[in-house]
Symmetry: C6
Subunit: 76 residues, 6 copies
């Protein structure tokens, strides 16, 4: 995690902001379980589990709130 | 997901904003489980599970907060 | 869901705002499980399940945040 | 629920605001399960279940955000 | 709970704000389960349960949002 | 916890803000379960449990909202 993955919250469009929120949700998992090997193994389980898919969607939604505010809702 | 599905957070009415929030919640699931076939199979389970229906409603509520703020609560 | 159920976020009082938030939480379930028959059957289970009652209360709380902000907290 | 239980979000102190948030969280349960008899029976279970106690505390926290904002954080 | 435990949301530092948020999360549990004896018994279970520890951390995070806003993020 | 771990919410970059949010989420667990020995033992379980990894990611997301607002979204 030493490299720069989050230089800015600014994005050109809402959709790019959604992609950024998705990335932030994934990094939030990665900082707790840094092993890519274990995460890949775990993924096989959770992407078939709707409760966890919905929970993932919720984390994206929370990050998207932040990204959207940072971009002034792309109103400018 | 290469096409444009979220060009703007602006909607004409609160109800259209609610529809957009619903769409965003679904895309949040889709980015984690991209297979439409698997999602359809999973849907058969979760739309009979009230805990997951409530969780889905919660993700919509979070996205609706963002959409409503982006539209200045349709006060203008 | 073609009819207009959310024309505005404005309400006369906080309590009417709470009622609106409750309605929004329910519509959030309805858009995922559109069958009234299935929802009625499911209701028999979940309204005896405190974890789900609390989860429902949480969705209402999130929507109420939005409705309250839209009404400038009924301060005017 | 026909009587007035939420005439205003204004409270004199943060602590009264916390009490109001607690009340709002309970009403959120009540609107889903209106039977006091059933709620009393259910309470015997959930007030011994820490997961549900924490979930209740979370709903209070969300409502308290709203009440605190409505009172301008009691800064005036 | 008759005594004054929340006279103000103002704290001198972010860290004291975090402590206050922790206290608010605990009081949110206490108002639902007022018996200290039962809470002590329950604590033995939940402080070994990571899911509940994470849930507790989440309630603190929500209250900290409120406390931080009340203190204008300690920017002044 | 007597030492100063949260002197400020200001960070130089969004990414440092994310790191701070991660730390805050962990401290939120630590205040409930202060024993490092028990937390280490528990960690062995939860970092293999995707539901808990997602829940951890969510707590980070909530704290990141606060940190981002405190830094005016690093727009200045």
């Amino acid at each position: 995690m030493a490299d720069i993955w989050l230089p800015s919250l600014k994005t050109a469009t809402p959709q790019e902001g959604f992609d950024l929120a998705t990335k932030m949700a994934r990094v939030g998992v990665k900082v707790t379980q840094p092993s890519a090997e274990i995460r890949d193994k775990l993924r096989a389980a959770y992407d078939q589990d709707t409760a966890q898919l919905i929970a993932s969607s919720q984390v994206i939604a929370i990050h998207f709130q932040t990204v959207a505010a940072a971009n002034n809702y792309w109103r400018d």
